[in-house]
Amino acid sequence: MTDISQDPHATPARRIKWGRVLDHAILIVGSLFMLIPLLVVLQTTTTTDIETIKNGPELLIGTQFDDNFMKAMFKASGFSGENTGTSMLINSMILGLGFALGKIVIGMMAAYALVYFRLRFATFAFWLIFTTLLLPLEVRILPSYEIAQKLSLLNTYTGLIVPLIASATATFFFRQYFRSVPEELVEAARIDGAGPVKFFIDILVPLSQTMIAAMFIIMFVFGWNQYLWPTMVTTEEGMYTLVRGIKQLTQDLEGTNIPEYGRANMLALIAILPPVAVVIFFQSWFVKGLTESDK
């Protein structure tokens, strides 16, 4: 709503528009509400643990950032000494990228089969696949865990990633998109003698680039941020992801030793940065993917 409902007799020159000031005030308060918690984390990564324990977050920037960063990346806190920040960062990357890639490849293949082929059991396959949208992993978490155990997938990357892929969000998204692709395209391709594989790889995939990018961002963030499933399926500290490791951090802060706020907060920061960076840098793709996939 552009605010031109001002008094028409007023001079249009420099008049303070109080409505506009209020808009900005509300937006600034909202932005601070979102931002201040992050600043608190950021501040405590620059001071010593003793300083934080005594005074809590302050308004000054300390000098311990490098020190805390080294501790976070290379010092482990568990029994095995394997859950360093480096190892957790690598595991988070594997989970985020593996999940996004797997979901997109499998989803695109299934969506292509459903949209472009005459299949006798297409309707049945459709319902079989789309029922999975109904039940989130959280409600079937224990039986899923038992099955992962039976298939000896605990503490493996396969066990970490594949069960999370068992839902049809990407398939649904690509199905919607493929259906909006003009039909003439496939007709033209057939007349030119392109087979289904050639059409898929040479025409449909390049055409879907933007959609793939948008989906990739959303899925990467979703995979990176997984918590409950990694908590159950990984018990070896060398397999922890950053987000999975958060629980241990909260318990470390409770311990009898001096709580290592610097290390813990730095690790939280490292867990936040990659997905946030992706969302900010690819904002327009991300927003497009999000608002179009869920509707």
Binding site: M1, T2, S5, R20, D23, H24, I26, G30, S31, L35, I36, P37, V40, G56, P57, A110, Y112, A113, L114, Y116, F117, R118, A125, I129, T132, L134, L135, P136, E138, R140, I141, L142, P143, S144, Y145, I147, V162, P163, I165, A166, E183, V186, F199, V221, W224, N225, Y227, V243, I246, K247, T250, N265, A271, I272, V276, I280, V287, L290, T291, D294
Partner: protein, 293 residues
């Protein structure tokens, strides 16, 4: 299916196979397993199980603790949904209004989308730290002795605040994109008809946003029921004790910690039915939307 589809037989089956295989093993098998084991009583020492019919469900219905948790979950869901939708709508309307700094505001208001729920909970622990947490100090300034993890209501308040903080961005993104898709002509017509901005909002903008709002309502309910697990788990530091918990958290505590597989499965089934009902409701809304748009 497209009219001009391909007729190859084996290829589509090959393309569908990975998806079908994964959902068969990691979706249908566990779902069936959950329903099945909800009718059995597991021996606590792992020596088999015996069929008990609906006993597990009867135990749930008769358990005062379960009813209490269900009631808390309901209240929690209502509060989180209401505040995150309300705040996001306010911010989206304002962000749609301003021209200067619009991009910066948008970025500042949506980045939290990418923060994982347990990390949000971890930040909550800092903000509500007993000795120096900024929010604890603010509460103290108004005479509220805030005790996270000790006082039931205080912990519940912290859970709601952190959950709202985490959810506002999603709602903001959807509301803003809904607002920006309102045609210019409609806005201009509204401007002529209605001089007051507040009146315009309630008479024109709000009804046009209603479909987005309904859709978000379901998304937010699902979020409050399931995705807040990470927030709750970190805020109580993995030790539920006497702290408030939601139904999903209870499934986890009973099944994974307490080894009560039958009871936990029955709880899973109750949640499944709840989600199914919500989804059916959602589909009906979408159907109706297609009629109007």
């Amino acid at each position: 299916m497209k009219r001009a589809g391909f007729t190859t037989r084996w290829l589509p089956i090959l393309l569908l196979l990975p998806q079908l295989l994964i959902i068969a093993v990691f979706f249908y098998w566990p779902a069936v397993h959950a329903v099945q084991s909800s009718f059995f009583l597991q021996d606590p020492f792992g020596f088999g199980s015996s069929f008990v019919g609906l006993d597990n469900y009867r135990d749930l219905a008769g358990s005062g603790e379960y009813i209490k948790i269900a009631r808390f979950t309901l209240l929690f869901t209502v509060l989180v949904t209401f505040f995150s939708l309300g705040l996001a709508l306010l911010l989206a309307v304002k962000a749609d209004n301003v021209i200067r700094g619009a991009r910066s505001y948008r970025t500042l208001l949506m980045w939290v989308y990418a923060v994982a729920p347990p990390v949000a909970g971890f930040i909550g622990l800092l903000m509500f730290n007993q000795s120096w947490g900024p929010l604890t100090e603010m509460a103290r300034a108004i005479g509220w002795d805030f005790k996270l993890g000790v006082n039931f209501n205080d912990t519940a308040t912290a859970m709601v605040i952190v959950s709202v903080w985490k959810q506002v961005p999603v709602n903001f993104i959807f509301f803003l994109s809904g607002l920006q898709s309102i045609p210019k002509s409609v806005r201009e017509a509204a401007l002529i008809d209605n001089r007051s901005a507040v009146g315009r909002f309630w008479d024109v903008t709000f009804p046009l946003l209603a479909p987005t709002g309904f859709f978000l309502l379901i998304i937010n309910i699902t979020y409050a029921l399931f995705d807040t697990f990470g927030i709750i788990d970190t805020l109580v530091k993995g030790e539920p004790g006497n702290n408030p918990m939601t139904l999903v958290y209870k499934v986890y505590v009973d099944g994974f910690r307490g080894n009560d597989l039958g009871g936990s499965s029955a709880q899973s089934v109750v949640l499944m039915v709840l989600v199914l009902a919500l989804t059916v409701f959602q589909f009906r809304l979408i159907e109706r939307r297609i009629h109007y748009t």
